[in-house]
């Protein structure tokens, strides 16, 4: 089926060329970082993880969200998702791959990456994260590819793939749970040390991921004529709405515990995020933008007459994606380091190189996504005719 990716319109090749251009720039910036050291980023002794690990966190959510299609389709036999489930699976593949690239560029000694497996260390959550992410990617490649191949041959999918599909459902939950454990098990980092970190991650994943997918579907519909059907779109929009309500609800739970308990360590980071701390305000606009966009998206999503209007839905989804990205992809990881373990405030601003590498990796992920979606849509078109 790979040959489907090699034949395309000028627009298809032009798009891949644009992405390649950004990948090349990112790669160049990475070479500079590789030879100079991670000091060319904005990270520091105090804020030792930055935009790379933030993107890892956000994209694990995007990857996990594939399950919001797989679960209704395969467990509840919700046929309306038949056309887009493959897109969810392929998006998961691209997202996990992108996650791994972000881990790779964050390493001080990337050539030693395999030490993760040469010296397996079960007490380290990072070890488990590497395992669950790799297996999840593999599951989605195998399931997506096999089901698509069967569709091409107009045959039912082979029986052996069913157990893998069922396995991929809890596995999707596991990747975001284990990723949350990276943070929520660290003594002394009050902002992260919360038992609802994993539920929060899942809630934001299950709204942001399907929202991104739906936006891509709208683009595909305009460009290729692919139509998943109004029922599928509306069902997904409902899932997104419930997940976003849960997401903001969980955030307010965190605020209640921190401020009603009045424990300084629990409050500091929230004060930093929403009001600034000791004259440092870098993330205040980010956090308020995230909350306001989140509330705005819900105002548009909750009333059915807004949600069922596609023009409004698109605006709501864009607001939602931006809101969750600001919170997970900017705020959550960085703010966990502020104030630092000695109660000093050091802020973080990504450097130009860091941003170039980030854009490059996203471009690489979108490149892979484009190729996978192209294959899926071509096969579906062929099977339908």
């Amino acid at each position: 089926m790979l040959e489907k990716a090699l034949k395309g319109s000028e627009r298809y090749w032009g798009w891949l060329a644009v992405l390649s251009f950004f990948i090349a720039i990112g790669f160049g910036a990475y070479l500079y970082q590789y030879f100079q050291g991670l000091g060319v980023t904005g990270m520091s002794r105090d804020v030792s993880w930055g935009i790379y690990i933030s993107q890892l966190t956000y994209l694990v959510g995007v990857a996990a969200s594939g399950v919001m299609l797989v679960l209704p389709y395969y467990l509840h036999n919700y046929k309306e998702f038949g056309k887009i489930t493959i897109l969810g699976e392929f998006m998961a593949v691209a997202a996990v791959f992108t996650c791994m690239m972000f881990v790779l560029v964050d390493l001080g000694q990337p050539s030693r990456l395999l030490n993760l497996f040469l010296y397996p260390t079960p007490n380290s959550i990072l070890f488990w994260d590497a395992i669950v992410l790799n297996v999840y990617m593999l599951l989605n490649i195998v399931v997506g590819w096999t089901v698509l191949q069967s569709e091409r041959k107009s045959m039912p999918p082979p029986k052996w793939v069913k157990p893998l599909i069922y396995l991929s459902i809890p596995w999707a939950f596991s990747i975001h749970t284990v990723t949350a454990f990276l943070y929520s098990g660290l003594a002394g980092r009050h902002f992260w040390l919360t038992a609802i970190m994993a539920p929060r991650f899942l809630a934001s994943a299950f709204c942001a991921g399907p929202a991104i997918l739906l936006l891509i579907v709208f683009i595909l519909r305009r460009l290729t004529g692919f139509d998943p059907g109004q029922k599928a779109i509306r069902a997904l929009a409902k899932i997104i709405t419930y997940a976003m309500i849960t997401n903001l609800f969980f955030l307010s739970l965190e605020l209640f515990t921190a401020f009603y308990s009045n424990i300084p360590g629990h409050k500091h980071t929230f004060i930093y995020l929403f009001a600034g701390l000791e004259g440092h305000y870098a993330l205040v606009p980010v956090m308020w933008a995230s909350v306001l966009l989140g509330i705005f998206s819900l105002i548009l999503l909750i009333p059915p007459r807004f949600r069922n209007n596609e023009k409004i839905l698109i605006i709501a989804l864009m607001a939602l994606v931006l809101s969750t990205w600001l919170e997970k992809g900017m705020g959550l990881v960085v703010a966990g380091f502020i104030p630092n373990m000695l109660d000093h405030v050091t802020e973080y601003y990504p450097s130009v190189y860091e941003l170039a590498i980030t854009v490059g990796i996203y471009s690489l992920g979108i490149f892979i996504l484009t190729v996978l979606f192209k294959i899926a849509l071509e096969v579906k078109k062929e099977a339908a005719s």
Binding site: G37, L107, G108
Partner: protein, 266 residues
């Protein structure tokens, strides 16, 4: 077709041979102790190394001397940009050393005088728990060590350490002016201690390399007036055990269960 199958089988055979030879050589070599790794006869050993910081005895000069001695002993580079600092032992005010325990009515000298902070050599070190490659590990005598050659530079340990005791080599330390001579060649103050590469984490190692030679840690040696009391907590008669019995001491963030082995005599 035949020839490719034959060459494939050949490769398979060689691989299998390789896989079996190494374990058998290792098995044969068992019981032979490598001589080079044996400790010096005069090595200082303990079951639980610990340190008491006699805060009241310190002056600005002794603190500086202790920090300076450590920086020299471990070839620690100096960075102008505080974002990239490498710190093994340094000064912090009371409210930063013991966050959450500040109070408005502290004695003036406590509020004013900085404290020395360093790796707490925790009994339950979170950094060791989170490290995915065992590049940071705990020795039987309690010292939490770094293997600079195994560290992948993921910095999970820096997120995990509740005391901010770990530093990352954001740049190549060997390229830093502070570790170069007048001609610009790399010239570390202590050629016996390994310099690090960029991209790995480092921290205080309780001078394990000096203990192995029968020397006290560099910072302890630099404090001539017993400001830092170092020894074995398992030994009832050690100076540090006696000091802890005699004085009331506090530790940094004891509520986290890490069991820090740096005790502050207030």
């Amino acid at each position: 077709m035949d020839s490719t199958r034959r060459s494939f089988l050949k490769i398979l055979g060689v691989t299998a041979a390789g896989l079996t030879v190494r374990p058998s050589v290792e098995a044969l070599a068992m019981g032979v102790k490598p001589k080079g790794a044996a400790p010096f006869d005069n090595a200082l050993t303990a079951k639980r190394w610990a340190m008491a910081v006699d805060v009241g005895k310190f002056t600005g000069e002794t603190r500086k001397a202790a920090i300076e001695a450590c920086n020299k002993a471990h070839n620690i580079p100096h960075y102008e940009n505080h974002l990239h600092e490498i710190k093994w032992i340094w000064e912090e005010g009371y409210k930063h050393t013991f966050p959450g325990q500040e109070n408005e009515h502290l004695p003036a000298e406590i509020a004013r005088e900085p404290f020395l902070v360093l790796c707490n050599q925790c009994v339950n070190p979170p950094c060791v728990r989170v490290c995915p490659t065992q590049a940071t590990f705990q020795r039987p005598d309690g010292i939490v060590m770094m293997d600079y050659h195994r560290c992948i530079g993921c910095r999970f340990c820096m997120a995990g350490c509740p005391y901010g005791s770990r530093s990352f080599n954001w740049f190549d330390p060997r390229q830093q002016a502070s570790l170069k001579d007048a001609e610009g060649n790399f010239s570390p103050p202590n050629p016996e201690f390994p310099s690090r590469t960029k991209g790995v984490v480092e921290k205080c190692n309780f001078c394990a390399e000096r203990l192995a030679k029968g020397q006290m840690p560099a910072c302890v040696e630099a404090c001539k007036n017993n400001e830092l009391i170092f020894g074995d907590l398992d030994d009832h008669e050690s100076e540090v055990s006696k000091a802890l019995r005699k004085h009331f001491t506090i530790r940094r963030k004891p509520e986290l269960g890490t069991q820090p082995q740096i005790y502050y005599i207030i």
